[in-house]
Amino acid sequence: MAKLNVNGKVREFEAEPDTPLLWVLREQLQLTGTKYGCGIAQCGACTVHIDSAPVRSCVRPLSSVGTTEKIVTIEGLSPDGSHPVQRAWAMLDVPQCGFCQSGMIMAATSLLRRKPNPTDADIDAAITNICRCGTYNRVRAAIRVAVDGSSGRRAHLSSQHTDGSAT
């Protein structure tokens, strides 16, 4: 039996040592929020945190992850979507199809932990995730919102929410 610390819990399961962490999370642990997009660490859809660092889990074999390393997946960011980055994403209606967004959010939260006030160049360098729907400008704006609460959206177009608020 193998063991991993995922989202604050120790999980036990059976998997071959060369199984990528991505597939252990998705299949042995049923945490499907972390996505498969390429399998070669090109797209970032599989991004998780290991001891707060961003990791592309599709190329991390199970055997390379220690049982004391703290893994956090998208499901572990908050119980209810209340993490400031998640809130910013919802405020600006960032996702289109949404498939890449778990990885985007994990990359963004990790960036903000390291650089609480990132420049555009910091964002360019840290967020290399692929989004085929092209949500990049809203991703950038939402990172701004998460940093300083300001709305990156132009005033004449706003998202109206069911609670009556507009952003």
Binding site: T19, R26, G39, S78, D93, V94, Q96, C133, Y136, H161
Partner: protein
């Protein structure tokens, strides 16, 4: 709309033939005397609206959401007429089987061609209005008053004279039993009075995506589910020769190794990773067939020959362009080329199927639920009435998920293990190599000019592949595929040219390589806009005219095309100098019913690094249902279109696609993405699409700006083939 009256013994073949027609966008309806199948505990008010006792509204959505926002937009249109509380709106997808059983009460499920809202807005609004009228009637009946004395707003019905009120939830069950009002009595609201439609509302389906809680096809979990990995012959048209199952059958978790059709092999295991690992280790031999001799140079040569071919199909002509060009004082000629592109959705192709001799069920992210049902029935060997498709959420579509090849594969695999649900997922490599690609084309443009530099004639010869020849070959006669002329048609509300020329000939010589072609976001509008907008720019520079001034001269008779072009030029400050070191380029086109234009601002460093600073875009889609989502679509379309123009090409070697993953098929990432300013300019009177049209103007605007910056005219895409280094 054509109606097919079928007898109660609906043949599978008849159903297949009919739904096959939906690929071309035809509306086909059936009459099948099935009993009205009402499932679920709350009776529907009508097919479009369910109201629960607690006032929750469930709106039925027929089209597929793939990120383009159609789910929310359609809900806004229904809710507007329904006069319901938007905060309590939810949505659900009826299944294709239910649609079949109920005489296609929800109409066409196919989602493509930017038609989701513009093709269905009228009848979904009527659906909402009908439900509202029935709810009001139910309340009025309960009070014994005329319905005309009642009003509805926010899911509350009020009897105006007495002030009595009730909520939708309380009268829904009664309303469900009423006869719907006559069609002629339904009056839709004037869009000027819209309170929900036309507003930049937040999407209904956002929050789950921020939490990893939105499930896609790839995430499906069912009791007893097994997983399958599949490999199809890398050479299109090749066959599976043999494989050695015994080599992998002993691996942990592996259940079965099966041939799929005549060209593929799959491994079924308890986990997908185990299935994929076993498949990678499986000894397989292919019979590649004659297409293995074909490589990129052969394809390019074939297309080149079409540029001079005598035989071509005319898409648009007036006057006598060849004669005008032959006698012109001056000629300008250029040849352009655009390569194959892959859809490369973030979620690879997948489908889950469970087959028994009595029933076949498929769970699949699809843009065309009805075509998926037809494919499932065909592969299952069962009538459609014994099959069902459950539409799952798509991790991207862009046209790729309008095909049902992966449905057929999944059902074939499931048939080998009756009763067991099997989820088949393609690897990224499989997805990259088994697409239905944006077709390869070349274009030769020749203009005749008089001594003043005026255009006297233009001949645009397109050589290249027809999508319809792959997806609906029976519709091709004498090499005629009118879709080749998107954006170039003489007139019409769909995709017409924005210029008038004294003599014009636009024609197409069909050349179909062995590579399967499909509808890729924007379809042929993409390369047609590159070809024409870049060539117009060439003429402008060759005759020392401002590119905007030349276009304005040619667009006098095309006011709607001109309006969006002028809007971007004004917003971009075309008549003022660009920021230091930046250069501008323009493009305009019309497609999928909407008029679009863009102005790109770029700079190119001495060592050839391109930076796209910003793009100002305008779209006139006639009506705008959700302006902030339109903005999102415009930005997203630029990312998709620029990925192709800057980096993307699918090339063929020995009959197979050379690119295997995102390392060899690079795409735009956040660092490449320019600022985008979008002007949404609905001029009313028509309904144009949003998901696609703007994709076509980003590349030509950028290419024209690159010329302004460097003097280099890029004619063979993608841009990465060329150096922009200062000589």
């Amino acid at each position: 709309m054509s109606t097919i009256m079928m007898n109660s013994q609906l043949s599978r073949r008849g159903f297949l033939a009919s739904t096959g027609a939906t690929v071309g966008g035809l509306m086909v309806s059936f009459h099948i005397p099935f009993a009205n199948a009402q499932n679920g505990t709350t009776p529907e008010v009508n097919a479009w609206v369910v109201v629960k006792p607690d006032d929750t509204i469930v709106i039925r959505i027929a089209r597929s959401e793939m990120g383009q926002g159609t789910l929310t937009g359609l809900a806004q249109l229904v809710a507007e007429e329904l006069e319901c509380n938007w905060a309590k709106v939810t949505t659900e997808y009826p299944t294709p089987g239910q649609n079949l059983a109920r005489s296609r009460v929800w109409g066409n499920f196919a989602t493509g061609g930017s038609r989701g809202i513009r093709e269905s807005h009228d009848y979904v609004r009527r659906g909402g209005a009908t439900a509202r009228m029935m709810l009001v009637q139910a309340a009025a009946d309960g009070w014994n008053v005329p319905a005309s004395e009642c009003s509805a707003a926010n899911s509350v019905i009020t009897h105006t004279p007495s002030g009595r009120s009730t909520s939708y939830g309380k009268v829904a069950a009664t309303a469900a039993k009423l006869t719907p009002p006559a069609s002629a009595s339904i009056i839709l609201k004037d869009p000027k009075t819209w309170k929900l439609a036309g507003k930049p509302l937040a999407r209904l389906d956002t929050v789950k995506k921020t939490m990893g809680a939105q499930d896609y096809g790839i995430d499906l979990q069912l009791p007893g589910l097994l997983n399958a990995a599949i490999k199809d012959c890398p050479v299109f048209g090749g066959k599976l020769k043999r494989f050695n199952a015994a080599a992998v059958e002993g691996r942990p978790g592996v259940k079965k190794v099966v041939q799929v059709g005549d060209s593929a092999v799959a491994v079924v295991a308890d986990t997908w990773w185990r299935a994929k690992s076993a498949l990678d280790a499986l000894p397989v031999e292919w019979d590649y067939g004659p297409n293995a001799r074909i490589s990129q140079a052969d394809i390019q040569q074939t297309l080149k020959a079409g540029l001079d071919a005598k035989e071509a199909v005319v898409g648009n002509s007036n006057g006598n362009a060849p004669a005008a060009i032959a006698s012109a004082a001056r000629r300008i000629e250029a040849v352009y080329a655009c390569p194959y592109q892959n859809h490369a959705t973030m979620e690879p192709m997948n489908a889950t199927a469970r087959w028994t001799s009595e029933r076949c069920e498929v769970w699949v992210p699809t843009q065309n639920g009805e075509a998926a049902l037809a494919a499932a029935a065909e592969a299952a060997g069962l009538p459609p009435a014994k099959c069902e498709v459950y539409k799952l959420y798509l991790g991207g579509g862009f046209g790729r998920r309008g095909h049902s090849d992966f449905v057929t594969q999944a059902v074939r695999i499931a048939k080998t293990m009756p009763g067991t649900p099997i989820k088949m997922i393609w690897s990224r490599e499989e997805d990259m190599q088994h697409g239905f690609y944006h077709p390869v084309t070349q274009c030769q443009l020749t203009a005749g000019l008089d001594t003043q530099g005026n255009i006297t004639g233009l001949h645009m010869r397109i050589s290249g592949q027809s999508i319809l020849a792959t997806v609906a070959p029976q519709s091709i006669k004498d090499g005629r595929d009118m879709l080749m002329f998107q954006g170039l048609n003489p007139s019409g509300p769909e995709a017409s040219i924005g210029y008038s020329f004294p003599n014009l000939l636009i024609d197409h010589a069909m050349r179909n390589p062995h590579v399967p072609a499909g509808f890729w976001r924007g379809v042929n509008l993409n390369q047609n806009a590159i070809y024409l907008e870049c060539f117009i720019d060439e003429i402008a520079h060759a005759t020392k005219q401002d590119p905007l001034a030349l276009r304005r001269k040619l667009m006098v008779n095309h006011p709607k095309h001109l309006a969006v072009l002028n809007a971007v030029a004004e917003r971009a400050g075309w008549d003022k100098p660009a920021p230091k070191g930046a250069f501008r380029g323009l493009a305009q086109t019309m497609g999928f019913g909407s008029y679009v234009a863009a102005c790109a601002e770029v700079s190119v460093s001495d060592d050839g690094q391109l930076k796209i600073h910003r793009i100002v875009a305008a779209t006139d889609p006639g009506h705008a249902v959700n302006p902030q989502q339109i903005e999102a679509q415009v930005e997203g379309s630029f990312s998709y279109g620029l990925s192709a123009a800057l980096f993307g090409e699918i090339t063929i070697k020995d009959g197979a696609v050379e690119q295997k993953n995102f390392d060899s098929y690079p795409v735009v990432r956040i660092a490449d993405m320019p600022k985008v300013e979008t002007l949404v300019l609905p001029s009313g009177g028509f309904w144009g699409g949003v998901g696609e049209p703007t994709i076509a103007v980003a590349a030509p605007a950028v290419l024209n700006a690159i010329f302004a910056a460097t003097g280099r005219r890029i004619r063979e895409l993608p841009l990465k083939r060329h150096s922009l280094k200062r000589a």
